[in-house]
């Protein structure tokens, strides 16, 4: 497995906070769950209406999703399993090389 399978079950989720309260809650959650911010590059840039893409570890994703439901923050799962996405791209490359 690529990268020792460290990304198995990890997700990339797009969050869309719409109110100041949701932004505040999101910033608090960020520090608690220590997600990897894909965009924006800093949590300080998050404001109402900003799309926030986060990479969350597999063992923290349930907690994050529960938080999002509770705070009523809109979200979309961009990548369901990071490891599978990486492996798929790698196998596609192997196929292309064979061709």
């Amino acid at each position: 497995h690529l990268y020792n399978n460290r990304y198995a079950g990890d997700k990339v989720i797009r969050l869309l906070p719409k109110t100041e309260g949701q932004v505040h809650a999101l910033k608090k959650m960020y520090h608690q769950l220590q997600v990897d911010l894909w965009q924006p590059s800093s949590i300080s840039y998050v404001s109402e209406g900003t799309a926030v893409d986060v990479h969350i570890l597999q063992n923290a994703s349930q907690a994050l999703l529960a938080f999002l439901h509770e705070a009523n923050i809109q979200y979309t799962i961009l990548i369901k399993d990071l490891q599978k996405t990486l492996e798929k791209e790698s196998s596609l490359r192997t196929q292309r090389n064979r061709r």
Partner: protein, 309 residues
């Protein structure tokens, strides 16, 4: 040879450096490879000087890719640019003019340590790999480490944060090496282009404040035409404008520093996409991304050559 190297896959640091060495041996009339220093972990910082060799004075354009390690499409574009330039010199009058009148200093991988680490350990690493004596966290955000309102806005003082600005400006040897080179050559470097991902934007100064640059008219016009040309290829929309308005306010960026230090046309590209794949842009999208971006860069260069003071 150019055709033996696959420009539609991502390459490791070693592969990229081997490629650079090969080009240096093969295209002696157009390529000169040299090193401007060493990274924190001791790797050479290689630059390709691209352009038809001439005794006459020529102005230059600086292009760097891979300031942030996980943005792999950046180095892929830098390689693509060199390939296209060499392949189309004879057949494309615009490229011929560019390479005859200008030199291009191309740094395919700025953050060599971080890039290597993203290949071997952590695909989503962003920063450099320098150590911090007081904290267990490593690395500095190489795009917050420049001496332009350093660490005031949009950067963190904490070593464990991804936007850590460093213990002081130009603390990172990679940043210091490039800054020294640009300082030394600033009189003939006309434009600075830096490639990042992802957001699909073409940005110009300022990033550190909400203000209009003195040469706004020419810069904005170049950006507008570049984005229009880019869109003409596959219909992909890029936003453009001052970084502070278009993206967010952040200080310590290379683009702002280059501008402040006398390079009049300074841009940062945020390449594909807008989040569907994010940093994991599939290899099958390297070609369309690089093709459209190539047109934008040629547009900017020709505009600056013909229309700007």
């Amino acid at each position: 040879s150019l055709s033996a190297y696959n420009y539609e896959v991502y390459h490791s640091l070693e592969e990229i450096q081997d490629w650079m060495h090969q080009l240096n041996k093969t295209y002696t009339g157009f390529i000169h490879m040299f090193s401007i220093g060493r990274s924190y972990e001791g790797r050479s910082l290689f630059i390709l000087k691209l352009g038809r060799r001439s005794q006459a004075y020529k102005r230059a354009v600086w292009i760097d890719c891979g300031i942030h390690a996980r943005e792999w499409i950046g180095p892929a574009f830098c390689q693509w640019f060199v390939k296209e330039a060499l392949l189309t010199y004879r057949s494309d009058p615009a490229m011929k003019k560019m390479l005859n009148h200008l030199y291009f200093y191309i740094m395919p991988v700025f953050n060599v340590d971080g890039y290597h680490f993203s290949w071997t350990h952590d695909r989503f690493w962003r920063k450099t790999r320098s150590r911090n004596s007081r904290f267990h966290c490593r690395g500095v955000d190489a795009n917050r480490n420049w001496k332009v309102k350093w660490c005031v806005e949009g950067a963190s003082m904490h070593p464990c944060d991804d936007t850590y600005c460093g213990p002081f400006p130009e603390s990172e040897p990679e940043v210091k090496a490039v800054a020294n080179f640009l300082r030394k050559h600033r009189k003939h470097i006309r434009a600075y282009l830096s490639f990042h991902a992802y957001a699909q934007m073409l940005l110009y100064p300022y990033s550190y404040k909400y203000a209009t640059i003195p040469n706004f008219s020419c810069v904005e016009s170049a950006a507008h035409k570049a984005v229009k040309a880019l869109r003409s290829v596959y219909g992909v929309q890029y936003r453009y404008g001052p970084a502070s308005h278009t993206l967010y306010v952040s200080s310590g960026s290379s683009m702002d520093w280059a501008y402040k230090n006398g390079i009049p046309y300074s841009f940062a590209f945020e390449l594909r996409d807008t989040g569907y794949f994010g940093f994991l842009l599939p290899e099958m999208l390297i070609k369309p991304t690089c093709t459209e971006t190539m047109l934008a860069v040629k547009n900017i260069t020709m505009h600056l050559l013909k229309k700007c003071p």
